[in-house]
Symmetry: C2
Subunit: 191 residues, 2 copies
DNA sequence: TTTTCACTGGGACAAATGTCCTTGATTACA
DNA sequence: TGTAATCAAGGACATTTGTCCCAGTGAAAA
């Protein structure tokens, strides 16, 4: 999250500029709150974020939403489903204005089949996701909410950007009521 | 977890049989409760499990343990750290007798650099881990304990193998007291 | 056989979290 | 300007979960 992966971005920007039109890479943009990918739908493109921020979330059968991560510049979405040839595992929505390179499924697969350095980039981005997701899961089960909350608040400040309370609570996997309580307790007791 | 990845296993078994000795792949075995990888230590080898089951867990600073997943036949460990050139992110311990191929770091890196099909296998195994870890995190935050507990109990039965209560509670991220309560409630009300 | 020890399960209480609902503030609209 | 509608914050209570501890069981040692 909020890791700027220049390497990835450079790789695709080069392809965008030099590849011929038939390749089909486009630069597209989304306003705030637009859906880039919808859970259980068929994936036709990979997106690489050029600017802006998205949330990646599960819509659970009990109606609740769980935000896995936030994606920003240089991060990719849709690749996992295309690699596994599956429908979308989760939904992705812009939370501020987003610009992204849209890469058609077939071209992405073709690149993946012949290009070792793209494979390496995917491996590294997957590795980072595994670590983030694992640590988040552990922290959210074994530490107090305040612990994870402090971390994400610091990150917000550092990146000068604000996550809504409803997104914050979905990220932490708690109710807004509990989030309010924790925010209050952090304010009163800023350890 | 308990996914038998024959493809991976076949790949390494071929290398084990045909590569010359200098490659350094060895078949090693561990009794129950032996440590294969220790958090924060340097990783010198990748292991590919031939038989048996391991637990992969974080040892948190507050003394608690969180089990991320259980690994069995055809699953790999240590590769993520070697790829990222980092110390162990988590610890891995056998919970029953384990046989595994031990692959030296340098040989693994060499393969990774030239072999597209190994890259593909790593990508697929990472993808699966991302999905498992993400779903587990979401379920553990948004559903009752009984939900995850039922799932893992079914899996235990299907694979004819028993996880200790202390490992079960570390996998679910709850105390043994809560686990006992949930087990009792499942027995009284087997929905 | 008796005693001690270690371990497991569960009771009792405390703390954390969720649900429901009221209140107050802000916005939209007549 | 006044009224209705909407939304966020927090009170009150219920439920869940954790912590602490005790009793019962079984195993090991005297």
């Amino acid at each position: 999250m909020f890791r700027i992966n220049q390497e990835f971005l450079k790789f695709i920007e080069d392809h965008f500029q030099h590849a011929n039109d038939s390749v089909g890479i486009e630069l597209v943009s989304f306003e705030s709150n637009e859906i880039l990918m919808e859970q259980d739908q068929i994936v036709r493109n990979v997106y690489l974020i050029k600017s802006g921020i998205c949330k990646v979330y599960f819509e659970e059968e009990n109606g609740k939403e769980y935000i896995l991560e936030f994606l920003s510049t240089g991060e990719i979405l849709g690749e996992l489903e295309i690699i596994r040839d599956e429908t979308c595992l989760c939904s992705v929505k812009s939370i501020i204005k987003v610009e992204a390179f849209k890469i058609p499924k077939n071209y992405f697969l073709k690149l993946l089949n012949g290009n070792l350095s793209l494979n390496k980039m995917i491996i590294h981005s997957f590795a980072e996701r595994i670590i983030n997701t694992s640590k988040k899961a552990s922290h959210q089960k074994l530490y107090s909410i305040e612990y994870s909350l402090t971390k994400i608040m610091e990150m917000q400040k550092k990146n000068d950007f604000e996550i809504s309370k409803s997104d914050l609570s979905a990220y932490l996997g708690i109710s807004i009521r509990s989030l309010n309580r924790s925010l209050k307790s952090l304010k009163e007791n800023p350890s």
